[in-house]
């Protein structure tokens, strides 16, 4: 096919965009519409029993960072409770992403290097957790790690510990729960990338004097990078907004942003603050993604 013909075909394909107009229309209303409502609400005043009053106010945005003293109006202090929650969310999500990668990469490598038949079985096993509801899986973890749970009971019976280790309702519990929940989301894109990796390149690398470590760093990781980026995004983004896992495993104490936002729309009766936190979360996630893709892309070009 000539270049002109190819260009013509591409133009014809582009001109057919209006066929997807109904889908675009629904998408615009379903995705952008609610988001606009949230954005507008973040600039309003909270109503006494929830909802909002239509009075413009920047208080919600200000109160993310600063708390107004109850007794001395006009005196502001840093809202360290909010910052703690933000910091915990970012920290736990980053840790979850790192640990799912550390565990997921060898797992994905293992599966991708099996024979085609057993590979299907391994992939099947990886997807089994998806069959059960997230809430049930999270309660299952809580059953294992709570003070009278499976793990502590076993350790006590075995005489390894004399008092139960307190794991539930800690950052650690939330971290374990999220790692368990999001691990398949890391393994699957990594598997897809490693599956496409030409294993002959390993021999070529060793042949050209690269050690195992150099081969991993200079050949394998740069080539499977799209899988690493995809897996990290799939884990980091939902981790940051996680709601169920911190709720069940962190108790009421170890909140993450998701729980905090829910609180504002529920007991807190501060919808504008909830709305502004939601928008902030969206901005943080988008910024993190752009930064991440840029940085990992640059490393590749100069590697």
């Amino acid at each position: 096919m000539s270049a002109a013909e190819t260009a013509q075909d591409a133009a014809a394909t582009r001109n057919g965009w209006w066929l997807s107009a109904p889908a675009l229309f629904i998408l615009a209303f379903a995705a952008v519409g609610p988001l606009l409502i949230v954005l507008v609400y973040s600039f309003l005043t909270p109503g006494e029993y929830g909802n909002v009053e239509w009075i413009f106010s920047l208080n919600a945005w200000r109160s993310i960072l600063l708390t107004e003293d109850i007794f001395e109006p006009g005196k502001f202090t840093l809202a360290d409770a909010h910052l703690t929650i933000f910091w915990r969310s970012v920290k736990l999500s980053t840790l979850t992403t790192l640990i799912t990668f550390a565990v997921g990469f060898p797992t994905a490598w293992f599966i991708a290097t099996r024979s085609p038949r057993s590979r299907t079985m391994w992939l099947f096993l990886i997807t089994i957790p998806f069959w059960t509801n997230l809430l049930i899986r999270t309660f299952a973890i809580s059953e294992v790690i709570r003070n009278e749970g499976l793990l502590n009971t076993l350790l006590l019976k075995a005489g390894i510990i004399s008092a139960p280790i307190n794991m539930i309702y800690t950052d650690f519990a939330v971290f374990i729960g999220m790692t368990y929940v999001y691990l398949p989301l890391m393994v699957l894109p990594l598997f897809a990338a490693i599956d496409r990796f030409d294993m002959k390149l390993l021999e070529a690398s060793y042949d050209l004097y690269a050690s195992r470590w150099q081969t991993l760093r200079r050949v394998i990781l740069p080539i499977v990078r799209p899988g690493i980026v995809a897996g990290s995004i799939l884990v980091f983004v939902p981790s940051l907004g996680a709601y169920v896992t911190p709720r069940v495993l962190g108790g009421g104490k170890k909140m993450m942003i998701g729980n905090f936002i829910e609180l504002q729309f529920g007991q807190g009766r501060n919808w504008p603050l909830g709305a502004s936190l939601s928008i902030l979360l969206l901005i943080v996630v988008s910024a993190a993604l752009v930064l991440y893709v840029r940085v990992s892309g640059r490393e590749n070009r100069h590697g």
Partner: protein, 356 residues
């Protein structure tokens, strides 16, 4: 050419599988490859030639036996510690690196200074005539160009031995012929020992200083192309390289008595009364006047026209098949018809007797 030994395999055995399913890919192979020579391992697929190459590269360890590089035992040395580089059949170029980065990879891994890596990569690309492509990604190159990059990449660290695993098999015929000449030129220019694996006998005959013919995990014969072609030691070598006529015969006092009854000239030094298999290459078969002494009578069965020559398939009196490669005449007419009786003769000195 110096006679120092570059690579030596001593009683190399490589077995795959377990129990009853053990396959001996290499069965007690010993061979010496000289410094600076173009050595070809030739054989059908599954004969063990690639396994031997992989033992030398270090990708596999022998089940027993020793591999020596310039006299030093490297049998269990990992590939990244061997001054030996490989050109892979699939090229195995790094898709995330540019052409120049691919070529410089080996030197970089050896920890050479960046300036030297760049300079050597540029020189290597010039050697394979790809200077213009230095900053391209390898996926933007044609098959022939990728082949050259793979060569430059393997040559850049100045290996003591270059291993080539059927590197030309993915190229089309014309490109393959060009690369054969190119490879020979590179080998002469660099003076590096080349060990070339192929199943293509023509490739082996045109490029090699010496050929090792392999079959069923064993080295059948090692020698210069001419020896391999004119004096094959056994039936396998004779039939794998070129076309051959096999004739059953008995040694008599004044020659070989063919199974069809005629007496032909015999090579010297054969014990009388022995039953042997004699071979004659088709281009050594001449059609002659039936009155000539020592002529063998045959019947034409089939003629196949090949352009420069015509293959004439005949049967002797006892049904033994003989093929003659006849030079095509100016009119393109070989002047023979099916069923015609002819007389043929084997060129003096062309009849060989197989050892087994």
């Amino acid at each position: 050419m110096s006679q120092a030994i570059a690579v030596e395999a001593r009683n190399a055995v490589k077995a795959f599988g377990q129990g009853d399913a053990v396959v001996r890919a290499l069965d007690d192979v010993s061979v010496e490859i000289r410094q600076g020579e173009f050595f070809t391992l030739l054989g059908p697929s599954g004969c063990g030639k690639t396994t031997l190459l992989r033992l030398i590269a270090g990708f596999e360890m022998p089940t027993s036996g020793t591999i020596l590089l310039e006299g030093a035992d490297i049998t269990y040395l990992p590939p990244n510690k061997r001054p030996v580089n490989t050109v892979f059949q699939s090229y195995a170029l790094f898709p995330h690196l540019t052409v120049a980065e691919n070529v410089g990879f080996g030197l970089q891994m050896q920890g050479r200074p960046q300036a030297e890596v760049k300079e050597t990569a540029a020189r290597m690309l010039a050697l394979v005539k790809l200077e213009q492509m230095a900053n391209r990604k390898t996926s933007q190159l044609s098959g022939g160009q990728q082949q050259r990059v793979a060569l430059a990449r393997a040559l850049a660290p100045k290996p003591k031995v270059l291993l080539l695993d059927e590197p030309l098999s993915a190229l089309d015929l014309k490109l393959r012929k060009e690369m054969q000449i190119e490879l020979k030129r590179l080998q002469t220019e660099t003076g590096i020992t080349f060990i070339f694996v192929t199943h293509d006998q023509e490739e082996a005959l045109t490029m090699s200083d010496r050929i090792g013919v392999m079959s069923a995990g064993k080295l059948q014969q090692v020698g210069p192309p001419k020896d391999i072609y004119t004096r094959p030691v056994n039936r396998f070598v004779a039939s794998f390289i070129g076309d051959t006529n096999f004739l059953q015969a008995t040694v008599e006092a004044d020659g070989l008595r063919l199974s069809s009854g005629e007496l032909i000239e015999a090579p010297a030094g054969l014990a009388q009364g022995r039953k042997v298999t004699a071979i004659v290459r088709p281009e050594q078969v001449r059609l002659v006047n039936s009155a000539e002494l020592g002529a063998v009578t045959a019947t034409v069965q089939n003629m196949v026209y090949f352009g420069t020559d015509t293959h004439c398939y005949m049967t002797l009196a006892d049904g033994t098949e003989v093929m003659a490669r006849l030079q095509t005449t100016a009119t393109g007419d070989a002047d023979l018809t099916q069923g015609q009786n002819v007389a043929l003769r084997f060129a003096p000195g062309s009849v060989q007797v197989l050892e087994d």
